[in-house]
């Protein structure tokens, strides 16, 4: 019926006609506008803020500075919503100007005079860990934190995750060959084309109405309540369509500023909207990393030991960077069976913009490190690179680094992915060929895996309401950030109720007062969790329909079946009552009525998740592991070090393809983002750790025409407890791309390339043997 078809997205026509509305499209006469005043320094003491001049401009309604505000943060409360006493990154908010129009606010913001005393700034995590490095959070020991966050006071370590599996000494003893390699990249950005926006209004009766371009409307509600002592029931968050998110709209930042701004002007509605430059550095960014990987293997290529050190560049505040660093640790080895594992993953404070989830949640970062080491190991063993991966591919019966035992449901079929990749890429034909004196073609591969380390008690709810004609409305807390999840939910409901998917309507926007909660729209978990809730809601509706039909048809509910717009007798479908006749209750000919509007409800909470043990990391962080095998083919010019990405491949085990075109779109879009990150995206910092390129002219994502040919296939190993067996798949295309590209280019250029982005200058520097400086 509806599952397995490329059902046209429910938001399609709104989106191609300009009718689709995003947070900043809702304008109201009389709404006030806020402009941020941001720090030009990466690390400085705030000596004074003079707002006199700015305040006296016409149209200015309030100027807010940072004193007296509570510290914020989901795991560790280390961040003032507006900097107080000192600034810790370039672009940090130091004041907020509220005025009648954006033009007025901007003029006034330029007149806010801040006196800074610059402090020494630190950029690289390895530098931040050195003795005598500037301390970014002097009060680290006194911050409020949750019980599974372990900051190390008087250092720049916000959190450390330890993985201790097996016996690492024994692993080395069993190894004939050992390789060690280091990789590094600086922070970069999500660059959603819709910059973040939030509005807030506080009504006289105490209601706080927020609208936000966010992946976490329900979290906004909770956090505003926690931070500011507001009653959670008074807070209502709206989220319309979101113009791209990729993890970057999971944290709560502008919403707090909008709330503070509205409070400062007696509750009037205020809009806070990021200009591109602010969106890139003031709001949270994609994490940076320095990593070292040591692998040991027998001479026939079985990996026996892995020792991994991740130093994540969490930036000035820990936000969700702690979680990202933990997620990378959870899957630190990549999808390989390794019995002896030692990993330390540190979330390190630096004076960079602060980091938050980026599509893949620490996994493309982790994979870049591991998969470079895998290529190195293969070279040292003199073994085919595909072969080494195939040999060590993780399977049911093996355990993950956090010692979860895998089975046929909770992990996909990596060997099958690898086998298909080998065919698609014609791997055995060649891996490097010289086309002419200057042109070389090369292939690189990488494996990918990921589970979602979301909160163990995260839940998702779905409501189904019926219309008088028997059609159905799906109401779910999943935010439509572009992934098409709500269309998938409509397919799931249509399949379950055996009805035409065109008769299933979805409510696109979120209103936390009327929409059942979906924890956060992150981690490729929308389809799984909301899908399970939708199935339960459909079952609930079926139960209600049968109960009414049982009276009408004078038959036991056990004898009834729902489908094709009817409730009918199982053994004689010619006896039925149309759903439309009972969707709002049934009216007998004499005027008596029974029942009422059918409202199906369902919810789902992940089961059996446990936090990681502090010393060993043992624990069950997520429900299942989606796996994939990916590759790229490039053409490299040895004369000028430029290259073209010709083809990009991915074979991903997504359990079940619910909507083929939507699934392909998710995989290819993720691959595109991974290639863009790997080949050209990074913030450039000067020696004072200021960002030099917070603009799309100087920070240049991949554009039309620079895209390779994408070749994507899916393997279907069902996850038994997921709707129709479907696995999470929104991120996996991205995970292997940076490593595959680096592996291909290293082979082409005949020099190890262990940094990102892989720009021609980097390749040239490595070839010349110069040490590469970030600028």
């Amino acid at each position: 019926m509806a599952i397995g078809k490329s059902v046209i997205r429910k938001d399609a026509w709104d989106k191609v006609t300009g009718r689709a509305k995003y947070t900043n499209d809702f304008k109201e006469k009389g709404m006030l506008h806020a402009k941020l005043v941001t720090s030009p320094y990466a690390h400085a003491r705030i000596r004074a803020i003079d707002i006199e001049k700015a305040r006296s401009l016409p149209g200015v309604r309030a100027i807010i500075t940072g004193e007296g505000l509570p510290l914020t943060g989901e795991d560790l409360r280390d961040r003032p919503p507006i900097a107080f006493d000192k600034v810790r990154y370039h672009g940090e908010v130091v004041a907020l100007v509220v005025a009648d129009t954006l033009v007025h606010a901007e003029k006034a913001a330029n007149l806010v005079h801040v006196v800074y005393e610059p402090l020494p700034a630190v950029g690289k995590p390895s530098e931040a860990l050195k003795e005598g490095a500037p301390l970014i959070h002097e009060q680290l020991g006194s911050y409020q934190k949750n019980e599974h966050t372990y900051p190390e006071p008087n250092t720049n370590i916000a959190h450390r995750t330890k993985i201790r599996k097996g016996n690492i000494e024994q692993g080395w003893a069993e190894s004939d060959v050992v390789v060690e390699t280091s990789v590094a990249f600086s922070p970069s950005d999500h660059v959603a084309i819709e910059t973040r926006c939030a509005t807030a209004e506080i009504l006289p009766d105490g209601h706080i109405i927020i609208s936000a371009s966010s992946q976490s409307p329900f979290m906004i509600k909770r956090l505003i309540s926690t931070y500011f002592g507001e009653d959670v029931g008074n807070i209502i968050v709206h989220t319309p369509l979101v113009g791209g998110a990729y993890g970057g709209k999971a944290p709560v930042q502008l919403e707090l500023l909008a709330y503070l701004a509205s409070k400062a002007v007696g509750g009037r509605k205020v809009s806070v909207w990021n200009a591109r430059e602010e969106d890139m550095i003031t709001s949270p960014v994609h994490i940076g990393l320095e990593a070292t990987v040591k692998l040991g293997a027998t001479k026939d290529g079985y990996i026996k030991a892995a020792e991994i050190l991740f130093l994540f560049d969490g930036g000035a505040y820990s936000d969700k960077a702690i979680d990202v660093s933990r997620a990378a640790a959870v899957d630190c080895t990549g999808p390989y069976h390794i019995e002896n594992v030692w990993c330390d993953s540190l979330c390190v404070y630096t004076n960079h913009p602060y980091a938050t989830p980026f599509r893949g949640f620490g996994h493309s970062e982790q994979a870049f490190a591991i998969e470079r080491a895998m290529d190195l190991l293969a070279e040292k063993l003199g073994m085919d690179k595909w072969e080494l991966r195939r040999k060590n591919a993780i399977r049911p019966g093996h355990t993950t680094p956090t010692q979860v035992v895998l089975n046929r449901s909770n992990v996909g079929d990596l060997p099958a992915c690898l086998d298909r990749l080998r065919e698609l890429m014609e791997w055995d034909e060649w891996q490097r060929i010289e086309i002419d004196a200057y042109t070389v073609r090369a292939k690189g591969i990488s494996c990918a895996w990921k589970t979602s380390t979301i909160d163990p008690d995260a839940s998702s709810g779905v409501l189904l309401t019926f219309n008088p004609d028997g059609s159905v409305n799906v109401i779910s807390g999943v935010v439509e950030i572009g992934t098409g999840t709500k269309t998938i939910l409509a397919q799931i409901v249509a399949e379950k109720l055996k009805m035409d998917v065109n008769d299933v309507y979805v409510k696109m926007d979120i209103d936390t007062q009327t929409t059942p909660e979906h924890w956060k729209t992150v981690g490729s978990r929308g389809t799984f969790m909301a899908g399970r809730a939708a199935l339960e809601a459909a079952d609930d509706a079926i139960r209600q329909l049968k109960a009414i039909a049982s009276c009408v048809l004078r038959a036991s509910v056990e004898d009834l079946e729902v489908g094709y717009g009817k409730v009918f007798l199982r053994d004689d479908p010619s006896i039925y009552v149309p759903v439309k006749d009972i969707a709002y209750g049934y009216k007998y000919p004499n005027g008596n009525a029974i029942g009422g509007q059918i409202i199906g409800r369902g919810n789902y909470i992940l089961r059996h998740l446990t936090p990681l043990n502090k010393e060993t990391g043992a624990g069950k962080p997520g429900p299942e592991w989606t796996v994939g095998a990916e590759g790229v083919e490039i053409e490299f010019n040895r004369r000028d070090y430029t290259y073209k990405i010709l083809k990009a491949f991915a074979v991903i085990d997504i359990g079940k393809v619910l909507n083929p075109k939507a699934a392909l779109g998710q995989a290819m879009g993720a691959m595109s983002m991974g290639l863009s990150f790997a080949s050209r995206e990074t913030f450039l910092f000067d020696r004072y750790e200021r960002v030099l390129n917070p603009q799309l002219r100087t920070y240049r994502p991949i554009r039309f025409g620079e895209h390779p040919e994408y070749i994507v296939e899916f393997i279907e190993t069902p996850q038994i407890d997921a709707p129709y067996g479907a696995r999470g798949a929104g991120e996996h295309g991205l995970i292997g791309m940076p490593a595959a590209l680096a592996n291909a280019l290293s082979l082409a250029a005949e020099v190890p390339l262990n940094e990102l982005p892989l720009i021609p200058e980097l390749i040239w520097r490595k070839k010349k043997g110069d040490s590469h400086d970030s600028i």
Partner: protein, 158 residues
């Protein structure tokens, strides 16, 4: 100070003449969105880099964040709201050439102008036109497929 620079102007938008009062410094994007309620054109950078704000002025795609509203007086402006069930819109729907949809109005306006004015466009021409817009969600392969399908149809019917 600011009211003195405001003026009234007549704009021809999607076939209708509209009278708006705006600052001389207001961009076409600002006026479309804030004065006329045409929010299909999106701000993505206000710097000419992303193309989310693309509209047509006398049939030519321009970045409406880079053009003053006052410059468009006497010209014909077309925004995404002015396109109705065109082949390029249908192709975007069928090829899943959008995800979040934020870049989509800009991409469609650009691609619409391309397919209308250059039905014989080769790959290089397509790239030259479409590289001025950024899409962060799709792989561009879907957009390429949509545009090429419309071009194919155009060539067939000509």
């Amino acid at each position: 100070m600011e009211s003195s620079t405001k003026c009234e102007m007549q704009l021809l938008v999607n076939g209708e003449t509209k009278s708006v009062v705006a600052r001389q410094g207001d961009t076409l994007l600002f006026v479309l969105r804030n004065e006329l309620g045409l929010t299909g054109a999106k701000p993505g950078c206000l710097n000419g880099d992303c193309g989310a704000c693309t509209a047509l002025v006398d049939g030519t795609p321009i970045k409406s964040c880079m053009m003053l509203a006052i410059e468009t007086v006497g010209k014909e402006i077309t925004t995404i709201e002015g396109l109705h069930n065109t082949p390029i819109q249908r192709a975007f729907v069928e090829h899943f050439a959008f995800q979040c949809g934020y870049c989509t109005p800009g991409f469609i306006m650009n691609a619409y102008a391309l397919t209308e004015t250059k039905p014989d466009a080769d790959d290089a021409t397509i790239q030259e036109w479409l590289e001025s817009n950024i899409c962060r969600c799709t792989s561009y392969q879907e957009i390429e497929a949509a545009v090429k399908e419309v071009l194919r149809q155009k060539r067939k019917t000509e």
